[in-house]
Amino acid sequence: MTSLTEKRAPRTQPETRKIRGKVHLREHLMGWLFVGPFGIVFLAFLIAPLAYALYLSLFQKKLIGGTSFVLFDNYVKAFTDPSFLSGAWFVIRFSLVSIPLQIVLALALALILDSVTTLFARFSRLMIFLPYAIPTVIGAVMWGFLYSRGFGPLTDIFGLFGATAPDFLSSDLIFYGLLNVVTWQWAGYYMIILYAALQGVDPTLYEAARMDGAGRWQIATRIKIPLIAPALILILVFSLIGTLQFFNEPQILRYLAAGAIGSDFTPNMYAYQQAFSLANFNYGSAISFALGGLVFICVYAFLFFTRKRRSFL
């Protein structure tokens, strides 16, 4: 009732302005009310730790003399530390190989599943997605078993052909061993995102292209892929962020491949070792922060190079 009379009140200029002003203040308040709880969590568990990590990384703890402010010494140390550099080089190399592999596989699968509509195709879609539901740790444990010489099937399978099984846990092949685990784990997830994007494309576009004489291959490369480019960029960015932070899989396989994976295998493992095994939180924070910087630069560079193609943000 009250709202009705308010609405019907004669509209004189100043009164409207007054009401608008009130509405505006109300809108500010309501907006912050909805965003506020997340904002508190965001400040407490993202901004504060980041600021704190930056602060910690500027100090050094010595056995004699206690903790002292050293400005960027930890970063100078990190960028001349062979452990950090080799780890960083490994994750960059690993990203350059694993991300294109996963995305190409996911894209091919999504395109196949978008055009094949049998019951078996639907079943395959679920089965290929299944590894995403598996914790990365468990995935690494499972593959660790399959690789192991003791109870893995590789020895048997290669034995059938009279060949020696490759040891994916040796330092020569660990790169490929990890590559396989990561591809197995994530390709299905990326496939589902791309598949969902393909399903959102208006099918009349394909009809029109077919009328113009386009083949299946042309429809895929000229229509489907360009239309899902934003989804592709999105998953590329996420896989880049994830791969540069590589931790779970090598950490788990470390137990089985002690000789091939050291405690400084990736920057994140090195930071973990520094902070939690050696209680060197200052240097650990500096490595984390340097890794964060590396991620930021890589993502930014990637978005910069793809900006012409439409950005996802």
């Binding site: 965003v35 965001f42 994007a197 998953i235 939180f281 650990g284 922060f289």
Partner: protein, 294 residues
């Protein structure tokens, strides 16, 4: 006209392409091999596991029940505790993160408040912050507050899900018409009531997606609990199995029975997630397309 109907009929008939299906078949085998290995080998006892028989097929002795009993009674039933811990972390972290993300996404999409654009840009920037880079400083902050080695150390940081906010923002912007909200307001519904009764049902696919993604992220989390917890009775199942694997690898000969526990433990720990994903399939698929498309 005739051409048009024939095209339609063609679209409705299942599209087969046999070569592609055969290719799919091979890929499905690849994706299922680890599951198959785990299913087969969790039926074996230690001699069967190390006896040198076929590793991809069952032995004569299929003893799931005996192995399950061993798994759930080993070390005073610690495995069940890990599963329950994981469940607690996944539900508390997942529901909490979803509630916060849904509210924030809706707020960003539907209210023009001060500093809105700036705050949203900051949230998007946060998508690029490596989550694990936050673990070390969060650990030190929590240890100052005496929160490490408690369940809060795992649950509280899991509440942060900037990607969920982004997804909800996009979805709320497109799926909830402003006119509908205005109509509800004119009818005298308060802002909170409008949100709960009008907007929330419209956002359901995205809500389920965010809930599932955050619950899975909490269930799968390894780095955070590994750093935060030292009492193994608080471990989630990921850290617990990692611990067992470390022990089993360290003294390979002495603890052969632990290997069969790890194998069965991995199998049991993935069942809840597989059930959740399959039963909620209809809901999350609609939500996933949102993040990629816009």
């Amino acid at each position: 006209m005739i051409d048009h109907t024939s095209v339609r009929a063609g679209a409705r008939r299942p599209q087969r392409y046999l070569p592609l299906q055969i290719l799919l078949g091979f890929l499905v085998i690849y994706f299922l091999v680890p599951f198959w290995w785990v299913i087969v080998n969790s039926s074996k006892d230690a001699p069967g596991l190390f006896g040198g028989g076929n590793t991809l097929w069952f032995t004569d002795q299929i003893d799931y029940l005996g192995n399950l009993r061993q798994l759930f009674t080993y070390d005073g039933g610690i495995y069940l505790r890990w599963i329950l811990n994981s469940t607690l972390y996944a539900i508390a972290g997942g529901v909490g993160a979803t509630v916060l993300a849904v509210m924030a996404g809706y707020g960003f999409a539907k209210y023009r408040f001060a500093a809105r654009r700036f705050s949203f840009a900051v949230v998007l920037g946060a998508l690029m912050v490596p989550a694990t880079a936050l673990v070390i400083p969060t650990f030190i902050m929590f240890s100052r507050l005496g929160l490490t080695n408690t369940v809060w150390a795992v649950i509280l940081p899991s509440l942060l899900n900037p990607f969920g906010v982004y997804l909800m923002h996009v979805y709320a912007r497109d799926a909830v018409p402003d006119e509908l909200l205005d109509a509800a307001r004119v009818d005298g519904a308060g802002e909170i009531r409008t949100f709960i009764q009008i907007a929330l049902p419209l956002m359901r696919p995205a809500v389920v997606t965010v809930l599932l993604l955050s619950a899975v992220a909490s269930w799968n989390n390894y780095f955070l609990p590994l750093a935060m917890l030292s009492d193994n009775r608080l471990f989630p199942v990921t850290v617990g199995l990692g611990l067992w694997q470390g022990i089993a690898s360290a003294n390979n000969a002495g603890t052969t029975s632990l290997w069969s526990l790890i194998i069965l433990g991995s199998l049991v720990s993935v069942i809840p997630l597989i059930i959740a994903f399959f039963s909620l399939q209809r809901h999350w698929r609609g939500g996933l397309s949102v993040g990629g498309l816009r």
